[in-house]
Amino acid sequence: MKFENLLSEVREANLSYLMLARQMIVEDKAEATFRLGIDTDLADMIASLSSGQLLKIASSNMLMCRFRFDDRVVWDLITSHSQERETGMSSVHAAILLGSRSLETVQ
């Protein structure tokens, strides 16, 4: 991938992520914070972004979303192809772990 392409892909990903997040929060804040793994203060901040601010954040050269499966256990669970006794059990395990995590907060 050419460098310019890469940058525009990053921006596009940022923009769709932020727009989706904002839309989810506006529609149902409680559920959105659960799905996004963020706390309500951060949700309020995202929801109050103007379109101009949103575009500005999105046009960064860095991705504005982050991997949630950043630990070994969750990673192994969601990538496991092993036939577990109960199909879907590793997905449930991963879901319980993600639900038990602390939320992304604004400091």
Partner: protein, 180 residues
């Protein structure tokens, strides 16, 4: 008499009916509806029949805390309680609303993972009551760190969850054997 003292709010009643019908549609027993709304038993009974087309099942609700600690129910309960605690605790939603929404999220997840929903809305409600009254709580598994439903007064030092340490007969139900 009490109705004369505080005039009934039509909007408030509409909210109550919406909540009761949502619970009834999810298959909640009448006791749950009675406890979570202020509507009269007669109205709830009529509402239940209108929604489900039949009279609600009679008899006592299951009351054992042990059910929530057996292997498969424990996983389902822990999955549900994770979202309930987020909605009721972090988002500060009222109990009934958090219950309905967390249960909806639970159904969404079991569907995505192609699992049978082992936890009924009535059981979910009972679980919430046990947690509120301090009989059940959650303990982080010392291997994976996930929060799982446990007895509050058990010694939970070095607790390992049922998914990190799967018991040998776990999941081998009669239904599974017949399917094979």
């Amino acid at each position: 008499m009490s109705a004369a003292k505080t005039p009934k709010s039509v909007l408030g009643e509409a909210t109550q009916i919406r909540l009761a019908s949502e619970l009834a549609r999810m298959g909640a027993r009448l006791q749950v509806l009675e406890s979570e709304t202020t509507l009269s038993r007669e109205r709830l009974l009529r509402l239940y029949k209108e929604i489900n087309g039949e009279s609600p099942p009679k008899g006592m609700l299951p009351f054992s805390t042990d059910w929530f600690l057996t292997w498969q129910p424990n996983i389902h309960s822990s999955l549900f309680l994770g979202s309930y605690k987020h909605l009721a605790g972090h988002c500060k939603l009222p109990r009934a609303e958090a219950l309905v929404r967390a249960y909806r999220l639970y159904l969404e997840q079991t569907k995505a993972f192609h699992l049978e929903d082992k936890l009924s809305i009535t059981r979910a409600w009972i679980l919430v009551r046990y947690v509120d009254s301090g009989m059940l709580g959650t303990t982080p598994c010392c291997e994976c760190g996930g929060h799982f439903v446990t007895h509050r007064d058990d010694l939970n030092d070095g607790f390992v969850c049922g998914l990190c340490n799967v018991p040998s007969r776990a999941g081998k139900t009669r239904a599974k054997a017949e399917m094979a």
